[in-house]
């Protein structure tokens, strides 16, 4: 490589696809259009800086798993992606549309981005079926009949078709989380964001939720998951990201990430988390 090109490459390396090292083979050219792109993002809570110069790209169909110690800014990062929090500098785009405080398109943008929360956040005053249909009916303008058909279809996909007429508090945590996933899917989203979807669950329910997420990944959904379930990460991730103290410290495909990460901090974190 010519030295000036090399210098240019080094300077802008962080703008390139997260899987630049060896992901190219895995993501042929036509699939490498970014669906999510964050460039040099800083985020402050008052005087406290939660994100430092964070850049990442997520291609269509890519599965990104983010891990890192508590308080490292994982939730903040994915909440900035759908405008639940707003970054202070840098640029975040979804399908090329900028996400920021002034955006009038935010509700429209969010229709395409599903979000699954640690605490499920189902609507307790609505039945499961109503939880799934309220978005399509009120936001997308789908007819009630069609919305209900769609809802039953997705309940089937998360393996709880029989719970349609119950209320959220009559379901177990694992079932509630699967309903929450189905609620996002009913909006026919292109992207799913997960913020520690299994960490509020009893151990025996974790797998039923992870199974649904694996099936989702197999169906080609673009996913960004904050999770410490490393078994799941190994199975589905195209790209692993390790964050610490508001910075992305390591970005690597899983085989490299789990065997030979560049950063010492990442290695330490993994050894701690895999130890038990």
């Amino acid at each position: 490589m010519r030295s000036d090109i090399r210098a240019h490459y080094d300077k802008h390396k962080h703008l390139l696809y997260s899987q630049i090292e060896d992901g190219l083979a895995r993501f042929p050219m036509e699939h490498r259009n970014n669906i999510i792109s964050a460039r040099n993002v800083d985020k402050f809570y008052g005087a406290f800086q939660a994100l430092y110069d964070v850049s990442l790209n997520v291609a269509k169909g890519e599965r990104v798993v983010i891990c890192g110690p508590s308080g490292s800014g994982k939730s903040t990062l994915i909440r900035c992606m759908n405008g639940l929090e707003f970054h202070n500098s840098g640029i975040i785009t979804i399908n090329g549309v900028e996400v920021n405080e002034r955006s009038k398109q935010l509700p429209a943008l969010r229709q395409d981005i599903g979000m699954v929360f640690q605490q499920f956040n189902l609507f307790p005053h609505l039945t499961i079926l109503e939880n799934l249909t309220i978005g399509p009916i009120r936001v997308r303008g789908v007819s009630k009949v069609e919305a209900e058909e769609r809802a039953r279809n997705y309940l089937e996909r998360v393996h709880i078709p029989e719970q349609a007429d119950k209320y959220p508090n009559q379901l177990s945590g694992g079932q509630q989380q699967r309903v929450a996933i189905a609620r996002s899917l009913c909006m026919e989203t292109q992207i799913m964001l997960f913020d520690e979807p299994t960490s509020a669950l009893d151990p025996e329910m974790i797998n039923e939720v992870l199974d649904v997420m694996i099936e989702l990944a197999d169906s080609g959904m673009t996913m960004v998951c904050v999770t410490h379930e490393m078994g799941f990460a190994r199975k589905v991730a195209d790209t692993m990201i390790f964050m610490e103290a508001g910075r992305i410290v390591e970005t690597a495909p899983p085989n490299k990430f789990f065997t030979a990460p560049d950063s010492e901090r990442c290695r330490l974190f993994l050894s701690q988390i895999l130890a038990h």
Partner: protein
């Protein structure tokens, strides 16, 4: 480090719903209530006896209804009661609208909106309702050309609107922040999130204090008797000036108010039960 952005972790997320309190019959408070009322009646009765008061209870029923040659007729107290209920109902509906607008302004995050809402609240809070009534009747009335009934309704609506706005705000803020986030993340606008997700859930937080507020409004509607709107209290004064039966009339009027507010309380606690039922 604690995660401040996420809702506080609950031990059993969304599996428990707060139940409305005070289930069952409140024996002690009813007994206490009866004791106090009994004491007052006995005191008044004893006082009247020692004054040599001439009780004329038999003359009271005609003020509720009369059976004359023309047939059945409602009496003055019944008509006054209808007026009081009319006044209270219209004022309450208006007050709720005002309250909702003020509460939403206050929470809008707009500097001007918040300032207007707080200014309004402080103004009303520091103003005796009697002065407010005079303001509406003697100052704004002639300016905008409204009659005493309208002035009364507006006064009650504005006064109680301020109190109701605080009840609504508290109810809205009692809904978990995660509900907002979930609503937004399926693409709802702020208006849709309020309408379909937040307000329906805040009803059960608002009902108990709203009951208190309705009862408060019915009682404070008596104040408009000072500008001679023909509601229950004014009627009472008129009957007394004709008949000098102050004891009978005031006991009766008090009893009518009590029956109305009791019915209201019972009605709302039934509603509350309905809304608090675990699904």
């Amino acid at each position: 480090m604690t995660d401040l952005s996420a809702p506080a972790p609950q031990t059993a997320p969304q599996t428990t719903r707060p139940r409305a309190q005070g289930r069952g019959f409140p024996v002690v408070s009813v007994a206490l209530y009866a004791l106090i009322i009994g004491g007052i009646i006995w005191g008044a009765y004893a006082g009247a006896q020692s004054m040599g008061y001439n009780w004329q209870w038999y003359r009271m029923p005609q003020y509720f209804y009369r059976l004359t040659d023309d047939g059945f007729q409602w009496g003055e107290i019944a008509i006054g009661l209808v007026k009081t209920l009319q006044l209270s109902t219209i004022a309450f509906v208006l007050a709720t609208v005002i309250g909702l607008v003020v509460a939403l302004l206050r929470m809008s995050g707009l500097v001007v909106g918040t300032a207007v809402a707080i200014g309004f609240l402080e103004f009303i809070r520091n103003m005796p309702i009697l002065v407010l009534l005079y303001l509406f009747y003697y100052v704004l009335g002639p300016v905008f050309g409204f009659d005493r009934f309208t002035a009364s309704i507006l006064c009650l609506a504005v006064f109680h609107g301020a109190l109701i706005s605080e009840i609504l705000r508290a109810g809205i803020q009692a809904v978990a922040p995660g509900q907002w986030e979930a609503a937004k993340s399926i693409g709802m606008s702020t208006t849709q999130a309020y309408r379909y997700i937040v307000l329906p859930q805040s009803v059960r937080f608002m009902l108990p204090p709203m009951t208190g507020e309705v009862v408060h409004l019915v009682k404070s509607s008596a104040i408009v008797s000072v500008i001679a709107v023909a509601e229950l209290t004014t009627i009472g004064r008129n009957i007394i000036s004709d008949t000098y039966m102050s004891f009978e009339v005031w006991f009766t009027i008090a009893a009518v108010y009590m029956v109305v507010t009791l019915i209201l309380s019972i009605g709302v606690s039934w509603l509350e039960n309905k809304y608090a039922v675990d699904h």
